[in-house]
Subunit: 232 residues, 2 copies
DNA sequence: CGTACGATTGAAGTTAGTCAACGCAGGTGG
DNA sequence: CCACCTGCGTTGACTAACTTCAATCGTACG
């Protein structure tokens, strides 16, 4: 059986800061679960009976209109927390983008545990505040940036996030070459664009020598300053 | 001197749940401040040395590009919490939309107090999670909704929020008639549109008999079901 | 080798943005 | 008291950006 002691995100997730006894108690509440790419973990508007920590892989949080338009409202990487504790039903679906492993808890169990462990709640609060900051800067992008600016900002963010979570060779700083965990459609859903616009902007950047696209989902940043300038 | 005991948001803000002694301690750290309409409380990228509770009035949180495009990324109503505790600098400016009264704390003082009062941190966490939910549904609007849908959604949200915070006669449920705390430009900045588009959509709804516009900033919802249908 | 799916490219269409003129109400001063 | 000014909002004509629709490409996979 898998346990918290050997968990790779042990020191980065909200569990960091709990002592061994507390970890043991939390361990008893949760269980590991694998989610394959494309598989949902939580459905929009369902009673969201679970919360989870991401151990490995990348997942998308999406919100949809009745007529099927989709917006990706968040992306969860290893050590990120997923779900909506404390009595509210989450209004976003969670679907794995890559094969992923998560550590799931029933929301009730987690709520109870969290309320009696302030250190855990504090970690969760810090994480939620940081996520809110990121989400707000994404609002700026969605509301006010042009397609080229959106693409440039997106590539820079991916280069940062993927470096952090160790998807690339162990280097410090942003990754210059990485594999997107998104299809073109999903990039479009993150940026509030269509797949065609995304494709055209990618090709344009490639033709201008700012990036290279060695494979469908691979990106190499050739001219980071140019990207920064384009990002607005 | 003003004190927490007589505070109108005492039971709705994050201070709710603190006992009298704790309230007294918190009271000693904070001070009341008036902010007139248009006056800033926090500047984007400043070191954000303060956090605050809104007592009265409405404030906007904004994010701007270098070339001056602005996006309103949040709106704070009475009992809402403002600012970025725990060591990060806020990336949003806060400016009063109406004359407002807030209860401000130095961030350091607040951080220290919060860390030793789990009940307060819990309230703040619940509030932050709720705000994140709202922000995410706004991402959907910004990324995927059309101008008419944006306007309809906006009017419905205003009708809910303004009813809650008691800007309208004491009624239960959403307000049908209310005064917007926003200019046309600010509505545009919330929705990621231009002032002209906002104006045109407003007049269109008026001509269709869905709303009435008795004065510049006043709205009366005549046909709520129609608005709901338009909101997408 | 052929199929299927995602990605790209092209041409045409729409939506919202831009630029510019005008309207209206509130405030100010003659 | 009225004329004028000023700031915000509205309206119109035009434009640009992005979407839509449709065809084609390319690669992974059976």
């Amino acid at each position: 059986m898998s346990s918290c002691e050997t968990c790779v995100v042990r020191n980065r997730a909200i569990c960091a800061g709990l002592d061994n006894q507390e970890i043991l108690a939390l361990n008893a509440l949760g269980r590991r679960r694998s989610v394959s790419a494309g598989e949902p973990l939580i459905w929009e508007d369902d009673d969201s009976l679970l919360v989870a920590n991401v151990i490995e892989g990348v997942l998308k949080l999406t919100s949809s209109t009745e007529d099927g338009r989709e917006q990706i409202v968040g992306v969860a990487y290893p050590s990120d927390f997923i779900g909506r504790p404390f009595g509210q039903t989450s209004k976003a679906s969670v679907v794995a983008l890559t094969d992923a492993r998560v550590c799931v808890f029933s929301r009730n169990d987690f709520d109870r545990f969290a309320r009696s462990h302030p250190e855990l709640e504090h970690k969760l609060l810090e994480r939620t505040l940081a996520e809110l900051d990121r989400t707000r800067s994404w609002m700026m992008l969605l509301g006010r940036k042009t397609a080229p600016e959106k693409i440039a900002t997106f590539l820079l963010e991916m280069s940062d996030r993927l470096a952090e979570s160790g998807h690339t060779p162990i280097t410090r700083g942003p990754a210059t070459r990485f594999t997107l965990p998104f299809s073109r459609q999903q990039v479009a859903d993150v940026l509030g664009l269509t797949i065609e616009t995304v494709s055209r902007q990618f090709t344009k950047l490639k033709n201008e020598g700012v990036i290279d696209l060695p494979a469908r989902r691979d990106v190499e940043i050739l001219d980071r300053p140019a990207l920064l300038a384009l990002a607005g």
